[in-house]
């Protein structure tokens, strides 16, 4: 029993310290998505250009869904060139679609006029239903769907070139920059 005396302090301090220390490195808003490995939500929405686009149109092709907003500054501004570069490099292999998150079409168009329109469609999710289907907690969030329609990866927060490469490799084996 005397030996137990010396065990009490490490038994209490080590797990508690580990719990607190591991919490420091985590964003409390970053949660793991239960959708990973499951069929991505189906959708049909209208783009800023007025065209109707659906997940059915992208069947058999990997695609990236990027939830963004014109008010999401600087994160959405920071990742904007990353998406544009990926669209340019993988335009034949991967489709990229932007989805407006709680944003007005006019504001989104202003954002694209200012920071550049890479040419991929931006969908208007008026009631936020698609964001809920994907379990979005705030922009920017990006989802990577493979050619079979399975959601393979999710990026919480802004994309960078290395992160884009890592996530693209889950849906496109040839993607390694």
């Amino acid at each position: 029993m005397r030996g137990l005396r010396w065990l009490i302090v490490p038994l209490l301090v080590i797990p508690l310290g580990w719990l607190l220390f591991s919490g420091f490195g985590r964003d409390p808003r970053e949660i793991s998505s239960p959708l990973i490995g499951r069929a991505a939500p189906a959708w049909t929405l209208t783009s800023l250009d007025g065209e109707t686009l659906s997940s059915e149109d992208l069947a058999g092709r990997p695609y990236v869904v990027n939830f963004w907003a014109s008010w999401c500054i600087p994160a959405c501004v920071d990742e904007h060139p990353v998406l544009a570069a990926a669209h340019e490099q993988y335009t034949d292999e991967v489709a990229i679609v932007g989805v407006l998150y709680n944003d007005a079409s006019a504001d989104a168009e202003g954002f694209l006029a200012r920071y550049g329109d890479a040419g991929y469609p931006h969908l208007v999710d008026t009631d936020g239903r698609l964001a809920i289907e994907f379990g979005v907690t705030g922009p920017p969030e990006t989802f990577f769907v493979d050619a079979d329609g399975i959601l393979r990866a999710r990026q919480f927060g802004p994309l960078t070139d290395p992160l884009m490469s890592v996530h693209l490799s889950t849906i496109l084996p040839s993607a390694s920059r």
Partner: protein
């Protein structure tokens, strides 16, 4: 009369306890769909707020979730089915209160185990080191001044 007092007090206490139990535990009227939807909304976390429930948040996501809750309740979904609908999209994070009994049991078990270990340690310490009586020798005891001894003599 005094002999009957404890029995009367006990009887009164039991009557009040029984009445309280009946009032608290009796099944109330069936909640309306709107009441059910409100309770469900209070149990779901607003996805793009800090620590607010869907019922308390004005964001468009919260509004859409409330609309979906209304839709599901109107369609005959049970509370568990409504929870499952949102957990499938956001994970358990969307629930403000954990559903797993482990989440309640583990902290209580840890506290009980901690108290048991502490109690066992304190007991073993007391047994191992019984407090020695303060036995002073005659030489160690403080001596009264000589004048006092002289008076005693």
């Amino acid at each position: 009369m005094k002999r009957w007092l404890p029995a009367l007090a006990m009887g009164g206490f039991l009557a009040v306890a029984a009445l309280t139990a009946v009032v608290v535990l009796r099944p109330g009227p069936e909640p309306s769909a709107a009441e059910r939807a409100d309770v469900l909304a209070r149990g779901l976390r607003c996805p793009d707020c800090q620590g607010l429930s869907v019922a308390d948040s004005p964001t468009s996501s919260a509004q859409e979730i409330r609309r979906q809750i209304d839709e599901l309740v109107a369609g005959g979904a049970t509370d568990d089915e409504v929870h499952a609908h949102f957990v499938a999209r956001y994970g358990q994070w969307i629930l403000l209160a954990p559903t797993s009994p482990a989440a309640w049991i583990i902290p209580i078990a840890v506290v009980i185990a901690g108290a048991a270990v502490l109690g066992a340690w304190l007991l073993s310490r007391r047994r191992a080191d019984p407090a020695p009586p303060s036995a002073l020798t005659a030489a160690q005891r403080p001596r009264p001044p000589d004048e006092v001894e002289a008076l005693d003599a």
